[in-house]
Amino acid sequence: MTCDEARAAFTDLYDGTLSGSPLAALSQHLDGCPACQAEWAEFRKAMRALVTLGESEPSPGFAARVMERIEAPSRWQTAIQALFFPLRMKVPLHAAALVVLLLVGTWLLQRSPEIRQAADVRVPAPTARQVVPAAPTPPVPEAKTAPQPEVSAPTGMPAPSGREARIARREAAPRPADVPPKTAPTPSIPEGAPKVEESAPRKEQKGVTLEAPAPASAPAPVLPARRAESVETASKLAPPPPAAPARREVKDIAPALTGAPAKEKEREAALAMRAAPAKEGEVAPQVAGSADELFSSGATAFASRDYPKAIESFRAFLAGHGTDRRIGDARFYLASAYLAVGRHAEAAAEYETFLRVYPNHRQVPTALYGQGEARLLMGDQAGCQILRSALSQHPQAREAAAARDLLAARCR
């Protein structure tokens, strides 16, 4: 028997399925071959180590949670059946709902010129013979005219058609009060509030410069976060606006646009404004870059475990873009990066800030464990209490097992 043949039989030998002459041949080979003997000993050690993993139990209440998930849909079905199953109730309800929908739709169509106008925009462009006479642009005195938004398409984008460009110019211009808007305005902007107007169809958004000619006393616009994101992107790609009192930086209205809690944004903005150096004598980061560049750089560095670079990028991000919607994530990653490089005091401080400012952030459990660990590793026994608290609040977190270990080792 060769060594290869002997090693190929290890599994059978281990499982006890060898017998007779194959077993005798293998035993004879092992007796005379120290290398295979060593291999066989290692094999058995590895198998013993594997067995030490043993079985594990799911967390308490697992079966009850499974049954909850199983039974949940049936409860819904029961409720729906109870409501709608008898035909004598179902038919009139459906009919009534249909009538209500029709009435509401008709009423909305009549009341809302914006919807009609939006429908008009989708009509195919007229042929040369069907040119729609353009509504005259209201004559606005030069001095009162807000700067015209740029409607040119960015490089690589198709230029808007003549009709689209006309519509875009018309919409970008201020309208007299009695002229209905020509495109659907943002429904969620309250009347009298400053309007962030899209000066071209959505496809051309990136070329738009943002205008905000509203008085400072007007209430801030409330827009969905997705819209805010696109407006923000547009503002970044637009050329820098000339200084003009009527203009307002997008950043100024970003908190309202993102719909994030104002207090949270204000607190974070104040923190970012201070941008105190993390270490005594350390200069605040001067890394230039847009919010996207810095965040992306930090994120990439973090993912590739280049924590010093991640720290640099996220600190610059925090210092320069205090109102960005990713500010919470940035602070969390900054704290984690500090922890990773052993800067425990800074990690603890950043986690503390993160937990204070973003008590509902999805990373709170991880941050809590991180804070506890950072405290412990900097020699602060308060970390024990933090870890215990984390374990009681988030026993299912992925860090729980390691935290228990750390508690057992450091918090006797």
Binding site: M47, L50, R305
Partner: protein, 211 residues
């Protein structure tokens, strides 16, 4: 299944399972709950050893039981309920790992996986080289963690056979039936997995002496 499979009593279990399955089919949720309690450790252990993360393993185990519940109508009793359930669990673990590897790297710690199919770093794992790692302090747990880490590096189909055989204690024939493989394939995958794991654990076993 081989005697002594962890967490699953063997005596007359198959008959009792069949009765519980019949009751569960007629809408008796308590009967299915009894099946969940009987097999939760087995399913969870398999998922945990396959994915290496408790939270993800619990999610997988829950999904396995939901699938089983929804598929009870299709279970005709040609095999034992346990074999049928193990088959669902095994294939669901492989699917979860496959979808994990398809998922783009998520930066979120809440995300479940990194690009390499391993868990993303936790703050407790991100201490610099040379610093005292939290887990290094705990010698008792070191070996299990090392084994789990090396286990996670094996090819998934090999890992599955190794876990079914050496941790779950299943017989070759039941593994073959569960996974729909030939006996010879089970044996060859198991042998390659064992030899691979032996090679990966070698440095740890030498440093640590007897495992």
């Amino acid at each position: 299944m081989q005697e002594g499979t962890p967490g699953v009593p063997q005596v007359d279990v198959a008959d009792d399972d069949r009765r519980l399955v019949e009751r569960a089919r007629t809408g008796d949720a308590r009967a299915f709950e009894a099946l969940v309690r009987r097999y939760e450790r087995w399913v969870f252990t398999l998922a945990l050893r396959m994915v290496g993360d408790r939270a993800e393993a619990e999610d997988i185990a829950q999904e396995v039981f939901l699938k089983a519940y929804r598929g009870l109508e299709g279970f005709r009793g040609a095999s034992r309920f346990s074999t049928w359930l193990y088959s669902i669990a095994s294939h669901h673990c492989l699917s979860a790992l496959a979808s994990r590897s398809r998922t783009a790297t998520s930066l979120s710690f809440g995300g479940r996986s990194g690009a390499g199919g391993e868990d993303p770093p936790s703050p407790l794992d991100r201490l610099p080289d040379g610093a005292p790692r939290a887990d290094a302090i705990l010698e008792g747990r070191d070996l299990a963690r090392t084994v789990q880490a090396e286990l996670a590096k094996l090819p998934e189909d090999h890992r599955l056979v190794l876990i079914l055989r050496d941790i779950q204690g299943m017989a070759y024939a039941e593994i073959a039936q569960t996974l729909g493989l030939e006996l010879g394939t089970v044996r060859s995958r198991l042998h390659r997995a064992r030899m691979d794991l032996r090679a990966r654990l070698r440095p740890h076993l030498i440093e640590g002496g007897e495992a």
